[in-house]
Amino acid sequence: MNILVCIKQVPAKDAPLAIAGNWIKESDIGFEMNEPDSYALEEALRLKEKHGGEVIALSLGPERVKQTIKEALAKGADRGIHIADDNFAQLDPLGTAKVIAAAIAKEKVDLVLTGLQSDDHGFGQTGVLLAALLNLPHATLIMQIDVQEAKMKLKRELEAGWFQWIECPLPAVLTIQSGINKVRYATLKGIMAAKKKEIAALTRESLGVTVEPTQKIEKIYVPTKSKKTEFLTGTPKEAAAKLVEKLKFEARVI
């Protein structure tokens, strides 16, 4: 079973963000694998361990994203695909999916996995759009995958605690819900082995993809507050005492 996993590199969770137009200043901040994608990668590795085949880790973005591909290789992916693109942040969801779909179309894969959304743009559309563009069946927010011959039985998360079993033929595209598994760490042996693994280099141009944006992010900004927050200051003890006072006599909730 050959599985291609789409992984994105995003600003580290605690990175201080400095806004620049409709994106952020990339200098001086750390980047990491988009957390929802790390669950998709883990699921791909587990399926490979069970059913054989290879895992391909694909990432679109500037030179820096190679580090995240290397991390995937160190965890056990067999090879990487880097679609080099310094302007990835200006692609809309459909454009992003068109570029990635063109790269996937060159591969023979049974399953394409993505995380449910990215922690930067947060479009949450790439997996579904890949399925549309590659004309593959899809399912989203998957919490369990049981492969049975040429089809899968999937546990899909719905809202408010509901789930649904669905059957989906292979090949297919699935977006993975966070929490489906426990993500592994790379071992030293894995990191060493990764050095010998191949990362193919592609570009929009080499793939022959031209994109026409359907939407434009005009600007990004710190959101305006919907409530006025009263900040309580002082030592932890003072702040705690003030809070108890407020909750008791002002908000009257305790």
Binding site: K13, L17, P93, L94, A97, D119, H121, G122, F123, G124, V128, L129, A131, A132, P137, H138, A139, T140, L141, E157, L158, A160, G161, W162, Q164, W165, I166, C168, P169, S178, G179, K182, P213, T214, Q215, K216, I217, E218, K219, I220, V222, P223, K225, S226, K227, T229, E230, F231, L232, P236, K237, A239, A240, L243, V244, L247, K248, A251, V253, I254
Partner: protein, 328 residues
């Protein structure tokens, strides 16, 4: 301009975010001299269409087919593509539900169009609609406009508009128009099976008047005892954001957010929770929100009534002690 709202039902029951989206449509219509139509899709849903017709809409489109009884992305996309091609709306609005996330981007792509998903608001600027969504987990907002020609596809986040502002039909009832669609069984590639809930949860957080909730800031499972002690001193239930339950540090039944429970307690104390949108939709209805976070720019402070910018590991024991003192 024509606005079409795709309302959502499952097994004959509304997803109530549909009505919030209808309010969004009415508000957009008010500033852009547009008409609003609403659509319901499924099988045996004529009574739901009749209910939509009592709202202030120009018409209700009723799309029924045996193959639309259970939701499938292939079935819904095939049917809705035909409706959009014939009804020719300029703006197609969806509630941003799990189901919409599953099919709406594909539907838009089948028509060669894009979708702006998970919006929290809109503005009209010089006749152009600007949609506001969140990026970087709620740390920034983004103004997004469509380029290219209609139809444009937009989904609105749960809670972005208030369903109680929904206007009724001034003349009593809007017409319900049946739209025939052809759907082929062979085109539906996934097969929906049983719907189910996991083992019934022992705790019903929706009924808890006081909730102490922990996020990533708790750092390690062994630190949860401190939050438990605080919850106990307050007489509150302990809850968490999704990452904590994903890690298995607390059971899933204690998760607050879009994939967990939606609560509206008297008091919600968020400890080390950044305030990602998926969490906030589950708790923003709380009467009083207190946030403790060491990052003063954490989005949780945007909705907090009281905030303490500090290390939760310093605040938790101090607050536990003060609560015990206050009880005497």
């Amino acid at each position: 301009m024509k606005i079409l709202v795709i309302a959502e039902q499952r097994q004959g029951k509304w997803n109530n975010t549909s009505f919030e989206t209808l309010v969004a449509a009415q508000q957009i219509a008010a500033v852009s001299s547009a008409t609003v139509s609403a659509l319901v899709i499924g099988k045996g849903v004529a009574s739901l269409a009749a209910e939509l017709a009592t709202k202030n809409v120009a018409e209700v489109l009723l799309v029924e087919n045996d193959l639309l009884d259970s939701y499938t992305p292939d079935g819904y996309c095939a049917a809705l593509k035909q409706v959009i091609e014939s009804a020719k709306p300029d703006l197609v609005l969806f509630p941003h539900t799990y189901q919409v996330r599953d099919f709406a981007p594909k539907l838009a792509a089948m028509l060669g169009k894009g979708m702006v998903g998970d919006c929290v608001g809109f503005r009209s600027e010089g006749g152009k609609l600007v949609f506001v969504r969140q990026m970087f987990q709620g740390k920034t907002a983004a103004d997004v406009t469509f380029t290219g020609t209609a139809p444009w596809f937009v989904s609105f986040q749960s809670g972005a508009f208030r369903a109680d502002q929904l206007a009724g039909h001034p003349g009593g009832k809007a017409p319900v128009n049946v739209v025939a669609v052809s759907v082929n069984a062979a085109d539906i590639r996934t097969k929906p099976l049983d719907l189910f809930k996991e083992a019934k949860s022992a705790v019903d957080l929706t009924q808890a008047p006081l909730i102490v909730s922990i996020g990533r800031g708790i750092k390690a499972p062994e630190n949860i005892a401190q939050a438990e002690a605080l919850a106990k001193a307050m007489g509150a239930e302990l809850a968490a954001s999704r990452p904590i339950c994903d890690e298995g540090w607390l059971p899933m039944e204690r998760q607050i957010g879009s994939s967990g429970q939606t609560v509206a307690p008297k008091l919600y104390l968020a400890l080390g929770i950044s305030g990602a949108i998926q969490h906030v939709v589950g708790m923003k209805g709380a009467r009083t929100i207190v946030a403790v976070n060491k990052d003063q720019n954490a989005p949780i402070f945007e909705i907090a009534d009281y905030g303490i910018v500090a290390d939760i590991f310093e605040i938790m024991p101090a607050l536990t002690e003060e609560l015990q003192k206050a009880k005497g």
